[in-house]
Point group: C2
DNA sequence: GTGAAAGCGCTAACAT
DNA sequence: ATGTTAGCGCTTTCAC
């Protein structure tokens, strides 16, 4: 089923059909009607492959993220979707599974479709991936993180600063024996940066991290619970627990409540991300809003504007004290 | 940057370059090396648009789902990804936001890229969407649900039967005053089917649903908590709460525990889906595993096999009693 | 307002 | 083992 078939059915040239279906140029209302009618009855679906090759235009934006299971990224995609709504552009998602080799392949695959732009999560990539991004000749934006050296444009927060800011909040509230609970995966560069920022922030206040614990696998209530139990059994003197993500913090919160601990006085907790699904826990966890929807929206806006900048857009995460930290 | 450039740089024909880059046909090791070298130094990325047009092959599988925010669908995608791993095929995701008009557009858009197959969530579509799916000339599989009339192949569970089975489990455990808590959106056809099956299952045991409550918006702990509070204030005699999803059930569980209710004796709870993140709640919620990863895997296997069947593959959800129902 | 010709960058099929 | 030719289904450009 090609343009030719529709053209024959409507007794016009392929060119006229093409014009009608793209609302381009002048076509008389009568002809236009005939063409629509023919296309509809034949069930014609245009071949975008041919169209893209001929016009050298592909209205797709490639989006490369580590995973869809981590709720952070669906939220970024939501922001992207919002900004692209009403434009010609459509997002196409690929996942790297937190593996830079895999990410390189996905970027290669995406660029081979000649998209109108590329959004990639993070600043850590293989050299080959960076080279491809640099030579893409379309807007490329790295999102989530601004602690590093972007290939071109970047939109995100400083995770190092977020960790540091959280340390300041905790110290200001009088907590002293502080533990960190996070992922052992070095692939989660952003969590690592928060961890380092956190340690640095504590150090500025003359405090050393009392203990820390790391997990393999996925975050979740069970993971948070187990880590918390293990850490508190090892170091019962802790009066604050800082988690790499709210999902783990929620598990820790439930554990501490079950044990009858007095939150936030005996022990305080904080996480990261500000996940809406967790509203409704017995207490609201102290956290920082990672601005992920805004990040997606801003990145997509650069695609729409077709901007080939290397501007770095730093957003500020917002501290949300919730109920699990003492007031200052 | 085209094949031509690489061919010139390596002093061979475009055809030879094409063969090398696709590992096709016989090329001498010497030539092969020269070509790779040229491609690499030039940073050549093949143009899949042109390749697809010429070969009439697109190694993409379109996947149309309602949303990425509902954790059900990332899990389906995970199953699809697993089955496609190691094949030529790549998934491309589009979302309909639970809107059939939007779904129709997404399907149209996907088909216009001439994918090797199409996976669509649900059995409810516009007539135009059904027509496109029927005429696609590639494997089309509807997933999640088998209660209805599939266009072609289908892989899923019977949500009607799932609701009915849950009713049987609850009745067998001696609960009598049963409430349902779900979504008011008629767009969530599968939850509606569970609801109807549940009512029918209770009716078979001579029981009428004592009360029910519906929410707008997204599921989550807060939603589950509020619905539960409202329902129990209205009908304090309820001894069982059946939720449309585990996320809401979790909110309900936390509410009931806070109120000091004796679970599962004074009141029982059950949800649907079996979300792994929720392992770690104070009690494991009774639920049914919606088999979503298996569904994704099976559907993708049909794509790999390039099967144009209209087979309906019905999977059986597994009942998981957890800690929130009495033992039988 | 409509049509004819050329060609986008590849690959299939057929040489050699 | 390598090259040549034709053409995939559209859009661009130019002609009428």
């Amino acid at each position: 089923m090609t343009l030719r078939d529709v053209a024959d059915a409507a007794s016009v040239s392929e060119m006229t059909v093409s014009r009608v279906l793209r609302n381009r140029g002048d076509v008389s209302d009568k002809t236009r009607e005939r063409v629509f009618e023919a296309a509809r009855t034949l069930g014609y679906v245009p071949n975008k492959i041919a169209g893209a090759l001929a016009s050298n235009r592909v209205n797709l934006v490639g989006v490369v993220i580590p995973s869809l299971s981590n709720m952070v990224f669906p939220d970024v995609l939501h922001g992207i979707g919002e900004a692209l709504e009403g434009t010609e552009l459509q997002p196409v998602v690929g996942t790297s599974q937190y593996d830079l080799q895999q990410e390189e392949k996905v970027i290669y695959e995406m660029l081979s479709w000649r998209p109108s732009g590329l959004i990639v999560a993070g600043l850590e990539h293989t050299d080959a991936a960076r080279a491809m991004m640099r030579n893409a000749c379309v807007p490329v934006v790295e999102v989530m993180d601004v602690d590093g050296d972007p290939v071109a444009a970047a939109v995100g927060i400083s995770h190092e600063a977020a960790g540091r800011a959280m340390a300041a909040e905790i110290v200001a509230r009088g907590y002293k024996n502080i533990g960190y609970l996070g992922s052992s995966s070095i692939a989660d560069a952003r969590a690592q940066k928060r961890y380092r920022g956190f340690e640095a922030g504590l150090a500025e206040a003359g405090i050393t991290l009392a203990d820390s614990i790391f997990y393999d696998g996925t975050s979740g209530f069970g993971t948070g619970r187990k880590m918390t139990q293990a850490l508190l059994e090892r170091t019962p003197t802790l009066d604050f627990l800082y988690y790499n993500t709210d999902m783990n913090a929620a598990g820790g919160l439930l554990y501490c409540m079950e044990k009858g601990m007095d939150i936030p006085n005996e022990i305080g907790l904080a996480g990261f991300n500000s996940f809406e699904v967790l509203d409704g826990l017995p207490m609201r966890i102290a956290t920082m809003d990672s601005q992920r929807e805004t990040i997606g929206r801003r990145a997509a806006e650069l695609m729409v504007a077709n901007e080939l900048t290397d501007e770095v857009m730093r957003l500020e995460p917002e501290f949300l004290p919730g109920d699990t930290v003492r007031s200052r």
